[in-house]
């Protein structure tokens, strides 16, 4: 799956940020170096960004930068440990609107309000919710996804992983692989979605505030 790219010019027009800000954020490591993708166009070399991730990140920075200094923000973005320790009760998950109620009711497992979700469990919910929200998943597929993630949880504990969702001739399947990984499929396979643990953590972190 080719990720949607956005050119630097479009990005600046769209978000209203300036060149100076963009480079400043890059210097402060708020935007990873690897997101700056250089490509040749007819006007010469241009820089592109992964659209969704970049817009999300900029929104995140803009919403937080009044309260935190850039250095604090950079620390927060790179420091995932605070999120890892997070334990939330089902009530809090509901209140903070971390995942949609559909996802929560179907996969939340527990009806007791005091039940605490671990980081992994939350990430799994976020993953399912994200794909459901995009309309790329049917509910049965979401069941399968959630089961896959739960079953393999111990295997990927504390590791970076990526999730691939692909379809071939109407049959869908999930692949969970240690990141960074390069998977090659045969021609008939359509890769519908690819998410990394970092993306999910960031999502979660954004919602936890």
């Amino acid at each position: 799956m080719e990720e949607d790219l956005i050119s630097k010019k479009e990005l600046l027009d769209l978000t209203g940020i300036s060149y100076g800000q963009l480079y400043r954020w890059k210097r402060k490591q708020l935007i990873p170096e690897s997101w700056f993708i250089r490509k040749s166009t007819y006007t010469g070399q241009e820089t592109f960004f992964p659209k969704e991730r970049m817009l999300g990140r900029i929104q995140h920075i803009l919403s937080k930068k009044d309260d935190l200094s850039l250095d604090e923000l950079a620390g927060k973005l790179s420091d995932m440990s605070s999120v890892h320790k997070q334990l939330l009760t089902i009530k809090e998950v509901r209140e903070r609107n971390i995942v949609s109620s559909v996802t929560l009711e179907r996969y939340g497992q527990c009806d007791k309000d005091e039940h605490k979700y671990s980081f992994e469990q939350l990430i799994h919910l976020v993953a399912v919710d994200l794909l459901l929200g995009k309309g790329e998943l049917s509910l049965e597929e979401a069941d399968l996804l959630h089961r896959t993630l739960s079953v393999n949880r111990t295997q990927f504990e504390g590791k970076r992983w990526e999730l691939f969702f692909a379809r071939k001739m109407g049959v869908s399947f999930f692949l969970q692989a240690p990141a960074p990984s390069e998977l090659v499929f045969d021609e008939g396979v359509r890769l519908i979605s690819r998410i990394t643990l970092e993306d999910l953590t960031e999502q979660l972190q954004g919602k936890l505030g």
Binding site: K9, L12, D13, S18, Y19, G20, Q21, L22, Y23, R24, K26, R27, T43, G44, Q45
Partner: protein, 228 residues
């Protein structure tokens, strides 16, 4: 780094060291350090050579300094010749002389008078450059950039006419920034919010958001207003 925990390195005359972590490094004369160095403060006069990368909180040097790896600094002041084989990463850098940096530069404040060559990308908050010869930077991405021409004396003019390398000029492929005030600059593309193209500039294409001023003695291939 825990201050006081590490020893000082002092070289006077001709001497050398293996590299390592120090509290304070002082090099006077001709010195050669074979490995990478980490220090809180660094002062030097004369010919200095560091075999690996150099990480210093505060640094002030005069003379000829060669660094075989990357340079990471808090604040740095250098008069004379500087050669860095890697990139430069730091807060503030003041240069009086000639610098040749192979990699990318990331600085908050960069003030230089002299000749600067940067092989990679210069990303900085504020850049002030007084040209004393031919400066080359592959790409610039800044908040504010001011380029001025120095060396307007008669001898400089004469030498510049004979040896092109001594003619004050900045060459870059792409310059991007919020506030760009340029003189004697040759670039393919200049993009920014407020742009002043001064005397002696030759720019292929200018994209501006708020304001553009072009000096009659400058040549601009194409102008475009963006972000409407």
């Amino acid at each position: 780094m825990d201050k006081g925990a590490a020893a000082d390195l002092l070289v006077a005359g001709i001497g050398g060291a293996a590299g390592g972590t120090y509290n304070h490094v002082s090099l006077e004369g001709v010195s050669r350090i074979n490995g990478p160095v980490t220090a809180m403060t660094f002062t030097g006069n004369g010919r200095m050579k560091v075999g690996g990368s150099l990480t210093v909180e505060q640094m002030e040097t005069n003379g000829d300094l060669k660094i075989g790896g990357g340079l990471r600094i808090g604040t740095m002041k250098h008069d004379g010749l500087l050669k860095v084989d890697g990139g430069l990463l730091g807060e503030s850098f003041t240069l009086n002389g000639v610098a040749d940096i192979k990699g990318d530069c990331e600085l908050e404040k960069f003030t230089a008078e002299g000749v600067v060559t940067i092989g990679g990308f210069l990303s900085a908050g504020c850049v002030e450059l007084v040209l004393q010869g031919q400066a080359k930077v592959k790409e610039l991405g800044v908040e504010s950039l001011v380029i001025r021409k120095g060396g307007s004396g008669v001898w400089n003019k004469l030498a510049g006419g004979i040896i092109p390398k001594l003619r004050p000029e900045l060459q870059a492929k792409v310059i991007e920034g919020d506030f760009l005030d340029l003189e004697y600059t040759t670039a393919e593309v200049v993009r920014g919010a407020v742009i002043i193209i001064g005397e002696g500039c030759s720019i292929g294409r200018v994209e501006y958001r708020d304001r553009l001023t072009v000096h009659p003695g400058a040549s601009v291939g194409m102008e475009e207003k963006t972000g409407e």
